[in-house]
C-alpha cells in the first residue's frame, strides 16, 4: 500500500518516523521518591529533588530500569548491559534543573522491530532504533492568568521511555497502526498504561516528503500528539504543506511544529534563530547504569504471551480466522476476556476447546462488542462478565436454550447484570425438547392446516418452513428446533 500526495508537478511519497514517549508504570519517579499518580493537586507530588533545590541529587528507580528492559525484550531488541545517563541542557519554566536527564549516546535498549498487521495477511516491519529512559518535564499552564504562566512540577521527573522508530513508515495508516501496536505491546507487558488522554503516551512525528527515487527530504517534527487520530491527521496535513511549499519553489526547513486539530494545520513552534544546542554530556551525578544477563533473564521470565504469538496460537490451535484472532489480540483486555470466557465455557460445557472457540469468539466480537459499542462502554466496564458469557454459551451448547433465545437472554443480562441461568428461569425461556409434548403440538398444527399439507405433499417442499414456524409460534420459540425438524418431516411425508 502506498500513500501518494499528488502535487501539480508530480507525485510525492512520505517518509515518517515516530518518537513515542511512554510513561513507565511505577509508583515513584525515575530519580526521586515522589508519587506518579495522575491528577493530583499542583506541586503535591514534588520532592526537593524534583524541584531542583540546590545540592539535591538523583537516585535511580530499579523498577523503571526493569520495565525498560522488559519493553526492549518485548520487541526483540538489543539490551545494553551498560548505558549512560546524559544531561540535555536547555531552559524552560517546567524544566527545574535547567537540564533533562536522558540517555543520548548509550541508551538502555538498542535496535528492535515492531510488526504491523496491515490487513489481508499483509504485515510490515517497522524498525525501532532505540528506547531510552528519561525524565518528564513539569506542566506549564499559559491560560490561567493574564500575566503569568503557572507551573506544576508533579510530572517533573516521572520516568519516560522514549521509543524511537526508524523512518520506515510510508503512510498515515501505518503510523496509526504503529502507535496502536506499540501501545498494545506496552499494555500487554504492563510497562506503560498507554492512556494517551492522560498524557502517559505521546507521539512526536517526523515527516518529510520526496519524489519517487529521491533521497530523504528535510523533515519537520510535530510534537506532542496525544491521540492516534491526530497522528494520522497531522501527517496528512504536514505532508500536504510540504508538497505545496516545494511546488511553490520554497524549501522545507527543519523545525519543530505544533498540530492544531481545530484549524487542521501545523505551525512552527520554534524559529530558526532559536535553534537548540542541548550540550549533552554524561551526568556526573550518576554513574553508568549496569546490569548482568541474570537481570535480563529475570525480566524476560516475567513477560506474558505477546500479541503476535497469541494471534498465531489462536489461529493454529483454536482454528479462529486470522481476522478474528487479530481483532481479539489487538487489546490485551479483550484477549484476556476471551481467554477467561473460553476456559469457563470449556469447563461448563465439557466440550473440546477447538469446538467452541469460534462460537465464543463470535459471541464476543458480535453480541458483546455490539452491545458495548451501543452503550458506549469498554470491555473494562462490561456488565456481563466472561464467566456469565460462558454460562450463556454453555446453555446453548447443552440445548437448554436456542441461539435465538440466547440473544434475548443476553439483552436482559446486559441490562440487569443477572446470570444467564437466572434470566432463563425467571422468564421461563427454557427450551422444550420433550418429544411427546412437541409431537402433540405438531399433530395439532397438521390437522389445523390441511391446505398447506396438501400443497406440501403436492411437491411444495419449502412449506416445511411454514410448519416449523407454526410450531415455534405455538411454543413461544422454546421448542428445540432440532427436535422439531426431526419429528415434523416424517409426519408430513407420511
Amino acid at each position: 500500500m502506498t500513500y501518494i500526495v499528488h502535487g501539480a508537478t508530480g507525485d510525492f511519497e512520505i517518509v515518517v518516523g515516530l518518537e513515542i514517549h511512554a510513561q513507565v508504570s511505577s509508583n515513584s519517579k525515575l530519580f526521586s521518591g515522589s508519587a506518579t499518580a495522575f491528577g493530583a493537586d499542583p506541586n503535591t507530588q514534588v520532592s526537593l529533588v524534583d524541584a531542583a533545590m540546590p545540592g539535591m541529587l538523583p537516585t535511580i528507580n530499579a523498577e523503571c530500569v526493569r520495565q525498560a528492559v522488559r519493553t526492549g525484550l518485548a520487541i526483540g531488541a538489543v539490551i545494553n548491559k551498560r548505558s549512560v545517563f546524559d544531561r540535555k541542557n536547555y531552559f524552560y519554566a517546567d524544566l527545574p534543573q535547567g537540564y533533562q536527564i536522558s540517555q543520548f549516546k548509550d541508551p538502555i535498549v538498542g535496535p528492535g522491530v515492531v510488526t504491523l498487521d496491515m490487513g489481508d495477511g499483509v504485515t510490515k516491519d517497522i524498525g525501532v532504533e532505540r528506547i531510552h529512559l528519561e525524565q518528564d518535564a513539569g506542566k506549564s499552564m499559559h491560560d490561567q492568568h493574564p500575566q503569568y504562566t503557572y507551573v506544576d512540577l508533579n510530572r517533573s521527573g516521572v520516568a519516560l521511555m522514549e521509543i524511537v522508530s526508524d523512518p520506515d513508515i510510508r503512510t498515515p495508516e501505518e503510523a496509526a497502526a504503529y502507535v496502536t501496536k506499540v501501545r498494545s505491546i506496552l499494555r500487554y507487558i504492563g510497562s506503560c498504561d498507554g492512556n494517551m488522554d492522560q498524557g502517559s503516551m505521546r507521539a512526536d512525528v517526523n515527516v518529510s516528503v520526496r519524489r519517487a527515487g529521491e533521497p530523504y527530504g528535510t523533515r519537520c517534527e510535530i510534537k506532542n500528539l496525544n491521540s492516534i487520530k491526530f497522528v494520522r491527521q497531522s501527517i496528512e496535513v504536514e505532508a500536504r504543506r510540504q508538497v505545496d511549499l516545494i511546488e511553490d519553489g520554497g524549501t522545507v526547513v527543519q523545525e519543530t511544529r505544533l498540530f492544531d486539530p481545530v484549524k487542521g494545520e501545523t505551525r512552527s513552534l520554534r524559529s530558526k534563530e532559536d535553534a537548540q544546542d542541548y550540550r549533552y554530556f554524561p551526568d556526573p551525578d550518576l554513574l553508568p547504569l549496569e546490569f548482568d544477563d541474570a537481570f535480563i533473564e529475570a525480566a524476560r521470565a516475567t513477560l506474558p504471551e505477546l500479541p503476535d504469538a497469541k494471534r498465531t496460537r489462536f489461529v493454529e490451535e483454536l482454528g479462529l480466522s486470522d481476522y478474528t484472532a487479530g481483532v481479539l489480540v489487538a487489546e490485551k483486555a479483550q484477549a484476556d476476556f476471551y481467554e477467561v470466557l473460553l476456559d469457563a465455557l470449556v469447563t461448563a460445557s465439557k466440550k473440546d476447546m477447538a469446538s467452541v472457540a469460534s462460537k465464543a469468539a463470535n459471541w464476543l466480537t458480535g453480541d458483546l462488542y455490539g452491545a458495548l459499542n451501543k452503550a458506549g462502554k469498554s470491555i473494562a466496564d462490561t456488565p456481563v462478565s466472561a464467566g456469565q458469557g460462558a454460562e450463556l454459551l454453555a446453555l446453548i451448547e447443552d440445548g437448554t436454550i436456542s441461539g435465538r433465545i440466547a440473544k434475548e437472554v443476553f439483552e436482559v443480562m446486559f441490562e440487569t447484570g443477572k446470570g444467564a441461568g437466572v434470566v432463563v428461569e425467571e422468564k421461563g425461556l427454557k427450551q422444550v425438547s420433550d418429544t411427546g409434548e412437541i409431537e402433540a403440538i405438531i399433530d395439532g398444527i397438521i390437522e389445523a392446516n390441511p391446505n398447506q399439507l396438501a400443497q406440501y405433499r403436492g411437491g411444495k417442499d419449502k412449506l416445511i418452513g411454514f410448519f416449523v414456524g407454526q410450531v415455534m409460534k405455538a411454543t413461544g420459540g422454546k421448542a428445540n428446533p432440532g427436535v422439531v425438524n426431526k419429528l415434523l418431516k416424517p409426519k408430513l411425508d407420511a
Binding site: 533545590m53 540546590p54 545540592g55 541529587l57 554530556f281 551525578d285
Partner: protein
C-alpha cells in the same frame, strides 16, 4: 582561665569530658570571638541562638556519657552547605534570601555528633576562586598579614580557613573541587583535609563540579582534622556517588610511625618560577620524613602539566549545567524586565545574580560542550583526566604517599591576581591533579616565608587510604613544629 578559643578540638574534647569546661562556656567564648572577627568578613551569617541551644544539648549529652569527639565543639560552616532555615547562598547573589528546607548530610552528621554551629562562612561565589575575592559578600581577609598589608586567605574556602586560623571557630567545614581546602589551608597555617571522592556525601552541598566536589574539614591540628573528618564521612544512599565502604578510625591512624613507608617525590612538581623558599621547604619536608624512617622514592607523574587545563574544561562544563537551575523560578533572585518574556527574565536574573568569574566559567563550560566543540574540548579533557588518574595509579604501585608543596606561593595581596584569570588559576597547580583523580590529600602547615606568611606541604594518598595521609601529615606536623600564630590585629 585560658583563652578557650585557643584550644584545639582534641584538647577541648578532653576538658569537656573531664568537666573542666562546659560546652556552653566554650560556645560563648566563640560567639564573642565571632563578634570580634567582623573585620575579616569571614562570617556572612551568625547563628548564636542555634549555637547556644546545641551547646546545652551537648552538655546534657556529655553528662549522659554519650558524647563523641565533636560534641560541644563550636564550628563554622561554609556557605556551600545547605543548613535548614539558615542562610545558604554559596555566597552568590542569585540565591538571594534562600533558606533551605533541608540539611546537608555532612552538616547533619556533625549535628548528630553534637557539634555546635557558630554561623555560615564566606567563600568564593559557588566555590569558584582561589582568593575569596569573588564572593558576593566581599573578600575575606587572612588573619596573617604581610607586614601591614592585608592578604587573601586563599579560596574558595576563605571564610573557613580565616575563622579557624583567627580563633573564631575550632574547626570549619570546607569543600575542595580543585584545591579549595588545601590551598587556603596553606595560606593560613591551618590543616586542611580532602578525603577520597565518594567518602563524604554531596547531598545538600551546592554543586560546583559534581565529579570533583568533595567535603572536608579545616582545623588547627592534624588530630583535630581526623576527629572532624570522622564525623563528616560516611555512606549516604541519597548520593549515588557516595561509596558504601566502612569509615576507618582516622584518629587511631595517628601512630607517628612511618618507618619503612615509601614517600614519592614527583619530579614534575618542581615548577619554573616557584619561590626558592617553597622549594626549600619541600626539601625540609623530605628530610623530616626521611628522619622519621620513611624511604624517599623519586617518581614521575608525566601528565601533571595538563591537569590545570583539563580541570578548566571539566569543571566549567559541569558548572555550566549545574548552575542552570538558578533561573529565578523556584528560589533566589528574580529580575524581571518590564513587559519582558520568560527568556528575558532568565537573562536578566542570571546577569544580575552571577558574578564575573561565575559568568566566565559558565560561558567557557557552555562553549566546550556546544555542538562542534564537545569532542575537541570536553571529550579530550575526559581522556586526559584518565591519563592523569593512571599516572597516580602507577605511582601508587611504588609508593604509599606523595609529598609536594601545597601551593606555588604564599598568600598574596588583594587585587594582585584578580585581573588575570590565568594567573589566579595557577594557584591550584599542585592541588588539581589529585582532585581530578579523586584522591585524598592534605595540607600541613610547615613553615613561614620571608614575610612571615605560612606555607603548607601537601600529602597525597591512595584512594580510600585516608589513614596514611593522616599518619604522614601528623609526622610532618610534629617535625615542623609549626607553632606560629597570626598577630591579632582585628580586635
Amino acid at each position: 582561665m585560658t583563652d578557650l578559643t585557643k584550644l584545639k578540638i582534641a584538647e577541648a574534647r578532653d576538658m569537656l569530658a573531664n568537666g573542666d569546661i562546659t560546652a556552653r562556656e566554650l560556645t560563648k567564648a566563640h560567639i564573642a570571638a565571632v563578634d570580634g572577627f567582623d573585620a575579616l568578613n569571614a562570617y556572612i551569617a551568625k547563628t548564636p541562638e542555634i549555637a547556644l541551644k546545641q551547646a546545652d544539648a551537648a552538655d546534657a549529652r556529655i553528662k549522659a556519657g554519650t558524647a563523641t569527639g565533636m560534641t560541644g565543639i563550636p564550628i563554622g560552616v561554609k556557605d556551600l552547605y545547605c543548613t535548614k532555615g539558615v542562610h545558604t547562598q554559596a555566597c552568590s547573589h542569585i540565591l538571594d534570601g534562600f533558606k533551605p528546607e533541608y540539611e546537608s548530610t555532612v552538616t547533619q552528621n556533625l549535628w548528630d555528633d553534637g557539634a555546635v554551629m557558630l554561623g555560615k562562612l564566606n567563600m568564593d561565589e559557588f566555590a569558584m576562586g582561589s582568593s575569596n575575592e569573588t564572593s558576593f559578600y566581599g573578600p575575606v581577609k587572612n588573619p596573617w598579614r604581610k607586614g601591614e598589608i592585608d592578604t587573601v586567605p586563599g579560596g574558595s574556602s576563605g571564610g573557613s580557613v580565616s575563622s579557624v586560623a583567627g580563633f573564631a571557630a575550632m574547626g570549619a567545614t570546607a569543600s575542595d573541587t580543585g584545591g579549595s581546602i588545601r590551598q587556603p589551608a596553606s595560606f593560613t597555617g591551618t590543616f586542611g583535609f580532602k578525603p577520597t571522592y565518594g567518602r563524604c556525601s554531596r547531598y545538600g552541598m551546592v554543586a560546583f563540579a559534581s565529579s570533583l566536589d568533595q567535603a572536608g574539614p579545616i582545623t588547627r591540628s592534624v588530630r583535630d582534622g581526623a576527629i572532624m573528618m570522622q564525623s563528616m564521612a560516611g555512606f549516604d544512599p541519597k548520593d549515588t556517588t557516595s561509596v558504601d565502604i566502612a569509615v576507618p578510625d582516622f584518629e587511631a591512624a595517628l601512630t607517628g610511625d612511618i618507618r619503612g613507608m615509601k614517600i614519592g617525590i614527583p619530579k614534575e612538581y618542581h615548577m619554573d618560577g616557584m619561590p626558592e623558599e617553597i622549594e626549600a621547604l619541600w626539601q625540609k619536608g623530605i628530610a623530616w620524613l626521611k628522619d622519621a624512617g620513611a624511604e624517599i622514592v623519586n617518581i614521575s607523574l608525566p601528565h601533571t602539566k595538563y591537569a590545570l587545563p583539563t580541570y578548566y574544561i571539566v569543571a566549567p562544563a559541569e558548572a555550566s549545567s549545574n548552575l542552570g537551575r538558578y533561573d529565578g523560578v523556584k528560589y533566589g533572585l528574580r529580575e524581571t524586565v518590564q513587559g519582558g518574556s520568560l527568556p528575558d527574565m532568565y537573562e536578566a536574573t542570571r546577569a544580575a545574580g552571577f558574578g564575573e568569574e561565575v559568568k566566565r566559567r559558565i560561558m567557557i563550560g557552555t562553549y566546550v560542550l556546544s555542538a562542534g566543540y564537545y569532542d575537541a574540548y570536553y571529550l579530550k579533557a575526559q581522556k586526559v583526566r584518565q591519563l592523569i588518574a593512571n599516572d597516580f595509579k602507577a605511582a601508587f604501585e611504588k609508593v604509599d604517599a606523595i609529598l609536594t608543596p601545597t601551593a606555588p606561593s604564599a598568600a598574596f595581596a588583594f587585587g594582585e591576581k584578580s585581573d588575570d584569570p590565568l594567573a589566579m588559576y595557577l594557584n591550584d597547580v599542585f592541588t588539581v591533579p589529585a582532585s581530578l583523580a579523586g584522591l585524598p590529600g592534605s595540607s600541613v602547615p610547615a613553615g613561614l616565608d620571608k614575610d612571615g606568611l605560612p606555607l603548607g606541604l601537601q600529602v597525597l594518598g591512595k584512594a580510600w587510604d585516608e589513614e596514611t595521609v593522616f599518619k604522614v601529615s601528623a609526622v610532618l606536623e610534629e617535625a615542623a613544629g609549626f607553632i606560629a600564630e597570626p598577630k591579632i590585629w582585628w580586635r
